[in-house]
C-alpha cells in the first residue's frame, strides 16, 4: 500500500498512483444505477430526487433502469405489503451482483404508520439485506441523496480480497435469498432468520 503523503506529493508532480481496489470501487461508487421501482408515496420523493431541482445525476445515480438485470441498487420506496414482499425479493434475486438495498422511509424500515395492518410487512430487512435506511415519512429528496452518498462511502471502503470482502466476491456465499410463499394466514416463513433476528431491546 502506498503512503498517503507520497501519493499526494506524486500527484502534485502529475503522477497519479492508485490501487486496483480504489479504481474499481471509485468506478462502481459513481455509477450506482437504481431500479425503477416504487411502492408508495416515497417513490414520489424518489422521482423528485432524480429530477432537475435535486438532480441525482450529480452523484451518478440518475440512470433508473426498468429491468433488474441492469440495476445495482434497489430503493425500496414505500410500504411493502405481504402480497408484494415475494415479488420484491424475486426482483432482488434477479439483480446481478454487486447489488445494494436502500430502505427508504418509515414503511420500508418497520411498516411505519401501517405497522399494525394485517397485510403490512414490518420492515423489508426481514427478507433482504438492507445497506442504508433513511428515516422519514416520506424522507425528503436531500435525505435520499444523503443515503446515496452514504452508500457510495460504503462501496469505496469495500475490500476486494480477504475475509471481509463483500458477498459478490465470495463464491461460498449464496447471492439469492429465499422467496417467501403465500400461506393461508401469513407469509411462510414470516421472516428470513438467516439475515434477520429480532434485535435485543433493553426494557
Amino acid at each position: 500500500m502506498i503512503d498517503e503523503g507520497l501519493k499526494s506529493e506524486l500527484q502534485k508532480q502529475g503522477v497519479y498512483v492508485t490501487s486496483l481496489q480504489e479504481l474499481y470501487n471509485w468506478g462502481r461508487a459513481n455509477s450506482v444505477w437504481p431500479l425503477t421501482f416504487g411502492l408508495a408515496c416515497c417513490a414520489i420523493e424518489m422521482m423528485a430526487a432524480s429530477m432537475a431541482r435535486f438532480d441525482l445525476a450529480r452523484f451518478g445515480a440518475e440512470v433508473f433502469r426498468p429491468s433488474p438485470r441492469q440495476a445495482d441498487l434497489m430503493i425500496v420506496a414505500g410500504t411493502v405489503t405481504k402480497k408484494m414482499a415475494p415479488l420484491v425479493v424475486r426482483l432482488y434475486n434477479q439483480m446481478p451482483e454487486p447489488k445494494y438495498v436502500i430502505a427508504m422511509g418509515a414503511c420500508a424500515i418497520s411498516g411505519g404508520p401501517f405497522k399494525q395492518g394485517y397485510n403490512v410487512l414490518k420492515g423489508v430487512d426481514r427478507y433482504l439485506p438492507v445497506d442504508v435506511s433513511i428515516p422519514g415519512c416520506p424522507p425528503r429528496p436531500e435525505a435520499l441523496i444523503h443515503a446515496i452518498m452514504t452508500l457510495q462511502e460504503k462501496i469505496l471502503n469495500q475490500k476486494l480480497t480477504g475475509p471481509e470482502r463483500p458477498r459478490h466476491l465470495n463464491a461460498d456465499v449464496a447471492g439469492e435469498y429465499p422467496v417467501p410463499a403465500y400461506g393461508p394466514h401469513d407469509l411462510e416463513p414470516p421472516n428470513n432468520p438467516a439475515i434477520w433476528q429480532p434485535p435485543a431491546i433493553k426494557r
Binding site: 402480497k83 397485510n119 414490518k122 420492515g123 393461508p184 394466514h185 421472516n191 429480532p198 431491546i201
Partner: protein, 219 residues
C-alpha cells in the same frame, strides 16, 4: 326525492310479496336504509334502477359490515308494585342477537340528481350461509367493491362475473375485516409498543426482562 317509506310502499305494491324493512339511523344525517331480504334483492335493486321516478343509475359505494353475535341490553321502564305502592322501575332486558354480515349499497341518480338511497342486504349467519345476490349485473361499478367485500368479509356474491380475492393473495384463508379476525403474531421486535401491541408484544419479551410484580404492602 321520495322518503324511504314511500319507496317501500311502492316496491311492496309493484313487487309483491317482498319483505322490506326500514333501518333507523341515529347519526345526525339520519340516513335510513332499506333492508331487503336476500331472495328478492336483485328484483328490488332492478326496480330502484329502472323506476321512472327514482332512476338510481349510479352505485357510488358498496361496503360490508360485520355484526358478530352479541348480547343486546335494552332498558325498559316498567310499573311494578314496590312495598305496596306502584312505582316505575327500570329493567334491563338481555337479548341474544344472532350474528350476520351486512352489505350496504349507496345509490344515486345521475339523471335526476338525487340520492342517496341506501340498500342493505343481510346474510343468514357468519359461518356457512354467507351468500347474497350480486348486484354487479345492474351496476357495473359494484364489481371490484363486491370482490373486496368477498375478500375482507367473506360474503359470497352469487352471479358475480369474476369473484376472486382482490387485495389479499388467493391462498389466504381468513377474512381480515371481521371483528373476530386475529392477525398473525409478528411482533418480535417492538421498540415502542403501546395498547394492544404492548399486550401482544409481551409474549416475545425474554423471561428475565419481565417486570417484577411487587407484593402489595399491607396497610
Amino acid at each position: 326525492m321520495e322518503t324511504p317509506e314511500q319507496i317501500k310502499a311502492r316496491i311492496e305494491q309493484t313487487l309483491p310479496p317482498v319483505k322490506l324493512d326500514i333501518l333507523p339511523n341515529e347519526c345526525p344525517a339520519g340516513e335510513r336504509a332499506l333492508l331487503v331480504e336476500a331472495g328478492r334483492a336483485f328484483d328490488v335493486a332492478k326496480f330502484l334502477r329502472d323506476d321512472a321516478q327514482l332512476r338510481l343509475d349510479y352505485c357510488s359505494n358498496v361496503t360490508g359490515i360485520d355484526w358478530p353475535e352479541t348480547v343486546v341490553k335494552t332498558k325498559v321502564k316498567k310499573k311494578m308494585l314496590v312495598e305496596g305502592a306502584e312505582k316505575e322501575v327500570e329493567e334491563t332486558i338481555e337479548t341474544l342477537r344472532s350474528g350476520h354480515l351486512e352489505v350496504a349499497y349507496h345509490l344515486y341518480s345521475m339523471a335526476l340528481k338525487h340520492g342517496p338511497v341506501v340498500l342493505k342486504l343481510r346474510t343468514e349467519n357468519r359461518a356457512d350461509q354467507t351468500h347474497l345476490p350480486s348486484l354487479t349485473p345492474l351496476w357495473r361499478g359494484a364489481e371490484f367493491q363486491e370482490r373486496e367485500i368477498f375478500d375482507l368479509f367473506g360474503v359470497v356474491f352469487d352471479g358475480h362475473p369474476d369473484l376472486r380475492r382482490i387485495l389479499m393473495w388467493d391462498e389466504f384463508k381468513d377474512f381480515p375485516m371481521r371483528k373476530d379476525y386475529v392477525a398473525p403474531d409478528d411482533l418480535e421486535y417492538e421498540p415502542t409498543p403501546h395498547d394492544e401491541v404492548l399486550d401482544a408484544a409481551k409474549k416475545h419479551y425474554p423471561a428475565e426482562a419481565k417486570p417484577e410484580v411487587k407484593a402489595e404492602v399491607k396497610a
